[in-house]
Symmetry: C2
Subunit: 438 residues, 2 copies
Amino acid sequence: MITNTLHDALDSHADIQTLVKTLHPSEIADSLESLPETQRDRLWACVKQAKVLAYLSDGVRGELMQDMLPTKIAKAVKSMEIDDAVDVLQDLPDDKVEQVLQVMDLQDYRRLRQVLFYPEDSAGGLMNIDVLTVSTDITLRMVLRYLREFTTLPEKTDILMVVDSHNCYQGGLLITDLLINDPTVIVEQVMSTDLKAISAHLSAHDVALLFEQRDLLSVPVIDNQGILVGRITIDDVVDVIRAEADHNLMGSAGLDEHNDMFAPVLSTTRDRALWLGVNLGTAFLASYVIGLFEATLEHMVALAILMPVVASMGGIAGSQTLTIVIRGMALDQITPTNIPWLLKKELAVGILNGIFWAMVVAIITLLWFSNLTLGIIIGSALLINLCIAALAGVLIPLFLKRLSIDPALASSVTLTTITDIIGFGTLLGLATIFLHTF
Amino acid sequence: MITNTLHDALDSHADIQTLVKTLHPSEIADSLESLPETQRDRLWACVKQAKVLAYLSDGVRGELMQDMLPTKIAKAVKSMEIDDAVDVLQDLPDDKVEQVLQVMDLQDYRRLRQVLFYPEDSAGGLMNIDVLTVSTDITLRMVLRYLREFTTLPEKTDILMVVDSHNCYQGGLLITDLLINDPTVIVEQVMSTDLKAISAHLSAHDVALLFEQRDLLSVPVIDNQGILVGRITIDDVVDVIRAEADHNLMGSAGLDEHNDMFAPVLSTTRDRALWLGVNLGTAFLASYVIGLFEATLEHMVALAILMPVVASMGGIAGSQTLTIVIRGMALDQITPTNIPWLLKKELAVGILNGIFWAMVVAIITLLWFSNLTLGIIIGSALLINLCIAALAGVLIPLFLKRLSIDPALASSVTLTTITDIIGFGTLLGLATIFLHTF
């Protein structure tokens, strides 16, 4: 592991500079991300390759670029592919972006402006503008001759874009088709018209789904008038897929997907405090519900002992349903038509598991406390909570989405609030009704 | 949304067959995955494209293939790319695979055997064997002429593999280099020797990281003798990245990443029951701990009311740390060197947030129950639990990995067991010591 070697070197004060030179920018970026502040700054001072910036996560990049001069940023940005350059700039505060753009030469400035015009999470924000275009009416031999004039082609060129005289996208000429066809054939005869272009305004999420579904390597991007403005390559889409997956994973713990593993202690504490505060609120809500049954608890302390069982089983069952719905939403597999089907299925699973585990819990309770009524009460509370959990697991993310609240972030905390309250409430409520009378 | 249109059609008994013909196999696969059994079978009966199988998740594919005859499977498999074909076969029970292989013709059989030889989650299992090779000593003109003999090139060919007379991998000839260089140049002069081949035994996880770090489109695969055996293309790697991300997301809810959203109710109930059972065990463990302090609870029922606060705050704080470690492990960013640094940082964050929220909780408790000692006790318990949670969040996944237990699956349940027990134990323990004496 390269990261490992670098860490050891930093720990032993070995010659980092020589080591860094042998590494790929992405490996250096990985190492930077997995180091605490002091060691990170030491390593960063030895890094000469601007391309490292392109491989860093937003959080770490922002921190490292804070102290860079606009001229230095401009120089670094100039050496990158346009989409990476835009990524880097979009992390900077607006006034700093302006400073950087001001020290650039006009050509670079114009190129960057074209992409900066689009939101970061749209096709326009993901695209590269270095596109090779040919017209419909020339022969493949002319295309081959034209290509030979280049000393290098744009990275990951698998398709030449075919455009008309107004630069409107007509179709794609696959490089492999260029190679296997007779050179006297004209472009129009071999170009693929089923390589549809996408709008620059399509969301990054939809772009990623399209690439995944169609196994694409690159896609042409057009503006509202059908004019070719750029192309998106799969490597940038992989970053989107990774970021979306991280968002779903980290969101449920209230973390940002651009989280920096070694962000300073104080800012980390502050970032996490917010989430702890939200959860404290819900915890006290649960406490309030328990408090309503203070008299019952005083009467039978066994309830306090068994209380967490009902709440936690509801939380677990609900989170299973929830995870499936969150993932289905990420893959656009949840539709108005299949929601009722899903709801029915999850409820059925909840009832069946509810009945089974209710009996198990009832028997354990009977054996532990020698109280049949208590066993029946806790079993019933468990069954009710598992049914509610199934419904909540399906409905909460859908409901939050309709309210434009990010389901990946808020679903989990909302769910456990509900399963806690229902769990404590039904157990203590049923106990209040039945144990006081028996 | 295409999925949506199909769902509506199935619901309204419209003409599905015509609709299906207009769809991409991946869209049909998406629809099949998001339908319950009855509708899924109805749609499947209308599907004629074997390629749909390649796009289905393992769970759904297995279910649909259960009733297919070996001859039909063999025919479907024949029409697929070799890596997709192998994917499909690897989901079948061994005896059915043998039946399918027996009805295949010898050439297809041999091709499949080559890939089936390697484990599913290795480079060999991911690779395609349709590789274009050229030798070092021919001119680019000869290469161009050679390519023109094909009516089609293997999908996603961006590199021609350069091999010696023993089929040992020497380097890659980028198609773009083939296009821009003079046709009289020989292959050796323009081939890229820095396109390193990977071993067929490399794990799929490492293959995915390599593609992500190096922004690769394809990579040559060699066996132990350096013989070229195939190539891996980015589209298959995207599937690995998605599957790994799903594994991390779904593992913490005890779900399999190949989970079928509409698996039959009974098998779903059984699959989930296992996880609920594990969690019931840990919940009763927590109950047992609470039970140790029955006398204290009887003496002060406020403790029962506040109990969940300490436990849940520990669970939340711990899961924040845990999520960061699980993600770091997925990106290979956790090394023996940076574990102590991470531990120190997380503990510092735990202490700071612990102190802050301990004071908040103490004040709320004081106002609610007018009992200063109780406030101090619950604050102290919270602080202790947040510190333990930070340590547990870092150490549990590392410890589980060393025991070869999947951290994505078992970390979360282990963590909450610890934070529950510490949470309930410290609050009630401290209360037993201090409240009985004051």
